[in-house]
Symmetry: D2
Subunit: 377 residues, 4 copies
C-alpha cells in the first residue's frame, strides 16, 4: 500500500491548524508528508518541515518555491493543503490547480465570489480536485443524517434550523486582543466577521445534509460589542431550491456556549438533531413515534457512516477523526473512487456568495436576496 | 387564614385548561372555588360546577349570568379566571373588570391591539388586576434569571435568543384533525397561527427576564405544511429598548421536540440558559469562567425564586406549580402585596402588537417595523 | 362529588413534610382537611389547624385527643396521615387502624420489624388501609416502568441497579448541625442512618418495578465522616425471589449529586432507566435496538401512567404531583376501587427487615442473610 | 526530529485492536512502524506488515522470529506493542523485556498474579518500560481529575464509585456466538469473565485518579445468563490504603448502556464525575457550591490535561486520541522524560490480583479478602 504524497502550505509551528491537518492526513496511513512551505519566514519553515521528516530539498521557503520545486518532479505531491491566511487562499489554490495538483483549501476558500467561481472553473477544466475543509460534514453521524435524508427516512425536508454560536469573543475587555480583533476589522476579515468565520460551516451543513442549495436569504447582523465594525452575531433566514425553510444563527458573544454548532432537520415523516459537542450521537424522531438515539458504530448504519468510523460503538471519535475523514475521502478520490460527499469548490463559492449577499441583505434591512453565485443561477 | 373566593369561566369537564387552573388555584390553599360558568352548555356547566363543590346558586349557566349573580354579593369572588375561547377573552375580561373584579385572562388576552389597549386602560381606571396567564414566567428559576439580570449579574444584556418549537402539528396526515386545523385557519385563529399560540410565550419571556420591551422587529413566516393558510413556523428578529438584540424561533412542525421552550440570555459579563422541559435548573456561565448549574431550592437564590419553591432542592416542581405560582402572586396582590412580576394587561397588549406587526413585517418581506402598541410608543 | 375527609397528625408550621402532604392531598380536590393534630405543642397545633381551615372542635392538641374526638363522629375522617417523628409512627398508626381509620404513614413505617409485622396483621384484621408514603413510586413514568415489566416488555428481569445517593450531608464542618447529626446517632435514628433514610426508597422502588421481593442480601456500610456512629454510605447486594440480581448504593456524602435517586432495570429483552431528577422521561432500550425516550403524557402509555398524569406531554410534573398521586390512589381505594400499586404495610415491614438485616450483614463482613420479615418467610 | 521505531505483535488485518494501536502510535508522528509480527499465520502477517510499510526483512512470521531479528540490529525497535491473545501476553512481554526492549502490553497483562509479579521484577531489573494499555486513564479530563485530587482540590478522598457496565452481551440468543461465548468460558477466559474484561479498567481508574491502591475487597458475582460459567455481572466493594471506600459495578447485560464506563470521586471538600461517553467534560462540585463543568481545553487546567489535548476547547477528542496519549507518554519516557501517569506492570499485577481475589471472595459469599499481590503486601 504505497502512501500518497502530501504537501502542506502554512500550518507552521505553534499554529492550531497545522497539527489538526497533520493528524488528519497521517492518522490512517494513507498520506505521508513529502513537501511543505510551512511558515511565512522561509528559514523557519524549511527547518520545521525537516524536523517533521520532510527531505531537505522539499522543505520550501514559500509556496512559489514549492510550486516550482514540485511541478516537474516525477514523485510530485498528490495533494496540497492550503492553510495560509484567508486572503491568500485563492492565489495559491489557483496556482496549484493550474499546475495540475489536487488541492485541499482551508475555509473560507476565497474572499470574493468571483474568485470562488474561478476556482470552480479551473477545477472543472483541469479535472483536479479543489476540496474545501468543511470538516464537520465528515463526522460519521453527519454522514448518517445526510444518507437518511437522501433515503427518504424523514420524508421531504420542510425545515432546517442550525446554529454555530459560541461565546469565546464575548469578553469586551479582551476585544482588542489581536487574535480576536482582526476578525471584526474589515481591513483584515473582509465584509463579514462571525458569519464568514463560523456561520458558513452551519450553512454548508444545512446544504450538505439536505443535499440541496440555498436559493434566497434574508439576514440580520449585529455588533453586540459596539466597537466592532463587523458583526459578531447574525441571523440568516433562507429558502432552499426545493422549498425547505432555513434558519441559521451564529454568534461569538453567546457566553457559556463552548462550540455551539448544532443542526435540526425536520421532514414530513421525522426529525433529526445533531450537536458537534456530542458528535457520536444522532437524535431521530419518526413522526408520531418516540425519540431514538442513533449511536456511531451501531449495526445497520448507512455505509457513509460506517466506513468513516474506526472504533467500536460508544468509543467516541472526535474532531481529529473528522478531519481525518476528509483526508480519507481525498485519498479515495485521488485513487479513483469518487466521493461525492467531499466538499468542493462549488461548496466554497456558494458559501462566499451567502456571506456577501447576507451582508447586502442586512444592510437593506433584511430584504430577501438571491443567495446563489451568478454561475449557479 | 380566610381563603380568597375564586370564580372560573370556561375550563369545563374534559378540557385541558380547567384542571390546570383548578390545580394551580387550589394547590396552596389560598383560594377556594366559589363560583363558576364552566361550559358553553349551561346545564352541563352548572352540574359540573356543583360536582366541583360550588354552591348551586353560584353554579352559573354562562358568564353573563355569573356577572349578574356575583356583582352584588357581599361575598363576591375575589378573582375571575377567563379560560374561554380566545375570541371571547376581551368581552368577558372587560365586563368583569368594569364591574370591579380582578381578572386572570388566558392568553392571548385579546384578538386585536385595540382591545388590548382598552383592557390596559380599564385596569388602570378601575385599579383592578388584569393578569395574563404567562405561567412559564412563574417557574422559580425563571424568576431567578430575571433577578440575576436585574441585579447586574450578567451585566448589560446584549442578546436574547429564545425558541418555542415543538413538533405536535407536524403530521400532515393529521392536519385536518379539527383540534389542530383551527389554529391555522384565519377564521378561527385570527392573523397568526403558531406565533400567536406559542411564540408570544417566548416573546413575553424575553421581555420578562430582560425587564425590557421589544421595540422593533422583522419577521419571516412559513407554512411548512402547505395547506395551512397561517404560519406553522416563524422567525422573529427584534431589538429591545435598551439595544438588546433578540432572536425568536417558533415552530409546530419540529418533529422530535416535545415542548421545546427555551431561552438563552447573553450579557456583558455572563450568560444564562433555561429550558422548560428541565425547569428546575438554570445554567449560568460567568464570562471567562466555568458553566455552573443553579438548582431550584439551593441556598442563596434570590427571593423571587425561593418564595415560589415548595419542596427541597432536586425535588422537581413542574408545570402545575408554575401555574400555582401565578395564583400565589395573584393572592398576594389581591391582599395588598404588590407583585411586579405578575404578567398583566400591558404584557398582553404588547404580545398582541408583536403578533400583528410580525404578520405585517413578514408580508413585507421581513421589513423592520415598530413592535409597540400605539399607546406605548 | 363529596370530598373525603382528611386528618393530619404532625406536619406543623415550618415543617417540610406538612406542606408536601397538604399539597398532595388537596391538589386534586378529592380530600378536604377536616381534622388535625399538627404540632407537639398543643396550642400551637390547634391554632395552626384553624388557620388552615379546620373547625375549632377538630383542631386537636395531640393525636390521642384526635383519636378520641374523631372515633365517634359520624363524619369522622376517612384518612389519617401520620407525619410525626419516626419513633411514634407505630403507636399512632396502630391506634388509628384499630379504631377503624385508614392510615397513610410516613416512612419508615416503624422502628422494628416486629412492629411492622403487627401493623400488617392489624391492617388485615380490620380491613383498613395502612399505606406507607413511598411517593416516588407514584410518578407516572415509574408506574409505566412497572407496567412494562409486568407486561413482559423487557422479558424476565435479570438485574436491577438502583441508587439514592446525594451529597447534602457531605460537609464535615456541618456534621454537628442538629438537623444533620440526629440521623447518624443511634439514640435518635435507630440502627441505621442513610440506608434507613434514603436507601429504603430505592429498595422499595426495585421491588415495586420488578413486582418481586428481596429475599437475601449482603451489605457493606461505611461512615465516611468518621465521627458518625451510623453509616452515611452503604452498598447492598441482593437477590429477589425470582432470581433477579440486585445492587443498591445509597450515600449522603456524594457531593455534587443533588437528589441522586435512580434505577436501572435489565431484563432478557430490554432495559429501562429512570432518574428522579428528570422524572418525566423513562429511557427504554429493546435488546439489539436503539435507546428510546418515553415521555410522560405520550400516547399509548399504560393506564397506570396515563391516569396519574395531569398536564400534556413535555409539561413536567414534579414531586408534589407524585405525592398527590399517592392520595389519588388512596381516594380511589377508600371509595372502593382497589389500587394494588399503593404501597402498604407489607412494603413497610419489608423495608424495616431489610434495614435491620443489612446492619447484621454489614457487621458480619458482608455475610449473605435472609432479608425477609419472619412473617413472609 | 527522528521518529522512534515501533514494532507490533498481533493486531492483524481485520482485528479491532490493530487499527487502534496504529492510529494511536502514529497520530502524533512520534513513532514509525518499523517491524511487526501481525498475524498467527506467518505469511499473512508478513504480507500485511509490508502493506503497512514495514520493510520485508522486518515483517516477521511470529514473535520469536521478530525477537531474533530485532535483538541484534543497531536500529532495533524502541517499543514493542503486545496485542496478542491474553494467554500469550506474559511469555512475549517477558521475552522482549529480558532482551532489553520497552513493551506496551494489552490488558490483561497476565493470566496469573505470579506472572504479573515476575514482569514487575523483570522490568525493575532491566530498567525497561513495561506499560499496560489502560488507555482510558490517558483522556485529558481523567488526568485533570487525578491532578485535582493530588492537589487537594476535593480534599481527602472518602469514596470512589465506578462502573463499567454495558449491554452488548445481553442477548441470550447471541450467547453462543463464539465472539461472545469465549469470555464466559474458563477454558479460554480464565477465572473471570466481565470483571477481568471491563471491571479492571474501572478498578485501575479508581486507583489512578485517587493515586492510591486497593487493599481489601468483597465481591458478588452473578451469571445473569444462566448458561455462562463465568460472571457477566459483578459488584466489588473495596477499601483503599488511605481508608477510601470503593464501589465498583461491572456488567455486560445492562441493555441500553453502550459503553457505560464512569467514575465518581467524593472527597472532603468536593466531588468529581467523569463519563467515558462524554470524555471531554469533567463535572466538579465544591462542597456547598454549585456544580461546574470543566471543559477539555479550557484555560487553567493542570499541565497533565493541557499537554494531552490537541485541538481547541469544545472540539471533542475521542478514544483514538486517548490511545495516542499513551503513546505520547511512552515516547516521552523512552526519550528520558519520566511520565509517572503511565500505567505500568505494577498496575497490571494489581489488576490481576484484584481479579483473582474477587473470585475467591465471591466464592466465599462476599468475605473480605486482601486485594494486593503478595509482593505489595
Amino acid at each position: 500500500m504505497t502512501k500518497l504524497k502530501w504537501g502542506m502550505i502554512g500550518g507552521g509551528e505553534g499554529s492550531q491548524i497545522g497539527p489538526a491537518h497533520r493528524l488528519g492526513a497521517l492518522a490512517d496511513g494513507r498520506f505521508e508528508l513529502a513537501a511543505g512551505a510551512l511558515d511565512h519566514r522561509p528559514e523557519v519553515g524549511r527547518e520545521y518541515a525537516q524536523r517533521l521528516g520532510v527531505a531537505a530539498d522539499r522543505a520550501y521557503g514559500d509556496w512559489k518555491e514549492m510550486l516550482q520545486g514540485e511541478r516537474d518532479r516525477e514523485d510530485r505531491v498528490d495533494l496540497v493543503t492550503v492553510a495560509t491566511p484567508n486572503s491568500t487562499h485563492f492565489e495559491i489554490s489557483k496556482a496549484f490547480l493550474e499546475a495540475g495538483f489536487n488541492v485541499l483549501c482551508e475555509k473560507p476558500m476565497t474572499v470574493t465570489v468571483e474568485e470562488g467561481e474561478e476556482l470552480v472553473r479551473i477545477s472543472e477544466k483541469t479535472g483536479k480536485i479543489c476540496a474545501v475543509n468543511y470538516c464537520y460534514s465528515a463526522y460519521p453521524m453527519v454522514r448518517q443524517a445526510r444518507a437518511m435524508v437522501a433515503n427518504g427516512d424523514i420524508g421531504k425536508v420542510r425545515l432546517v434550523v442550525t446554529a454555530f454560536s459560541h461565546g469565546h469573543h464575548g469578553d469586551a475587555t479582551d476585544a482588542d486582543n489581536p487574535r480576536v480583533r482582526w476578525r471584526y476589522d474589515p481591513a483584515m476579515a473582509g465584509v463579514s466577521g462571525q458569519f464568514a468565520d463560523c456561520g458558513i460551516h452551519a450553512l454548508h451543513m444545512a446544504s450538505f445534509i439536505c443535499n440541496d442549495e440555498v436559493e434566497t436569504l434574508s439576514a440580520d447582523f449585529a455588533s453586540c460589542i459596539a466597537s466592532r465594525e463587523l458583526e459578531d452575531d447574525a441571523m440568516v433566514n433562507f429558502r432552499m431550491s426545493r422549498g425547505t425553510v432555513g434558519r441559521l444563527w451564529t454568534s461569538s458573544v453567546a457566553i457559556g456556549r463552548q462550540h455551539g454548532f448544532e443542526i435540526q432537520v425536520f421532514g414530513e415523516t421525522g426529525g433529526l438533531r445533531w450537536f458537534s459537542e456530542q458528535p457520536n450521537q444522532l437524535i431521530y424522531t419518526p413522526v408520531g413515534g418516540r425519540t431514538q438515539i442513533i449511536e456511531k458504530g451501531e449495526g445497520g448504519l448507512y455505509d457513509e457512516a460506517t466506513r468513516l468510523s474506526r472504533v467500536a460503538i460508544a468509543h467516541p471519535e472526535g474532531f481529529p477523526m473528522a478531519v481525518a475523514n476528509i483526508y480519507c475521502d481525498l485519498a479515495d478520490a485521488i485513487q479513483g473512487q469518487a466521493r461525492d460527499s467531499l466538499p468542493v469548490a462549488a461548496d466554497g463559492v456558494r458559501s462566499m456568495a451567502a456571506v456577501h449577499y447576507s451582508v447586502d441583505s442586512a444592510k437593506q434591512g433584511g430584504a430577501w436576496v438571491d443567495a446563489r453565485p451568478p454561475m449557479f443561477r
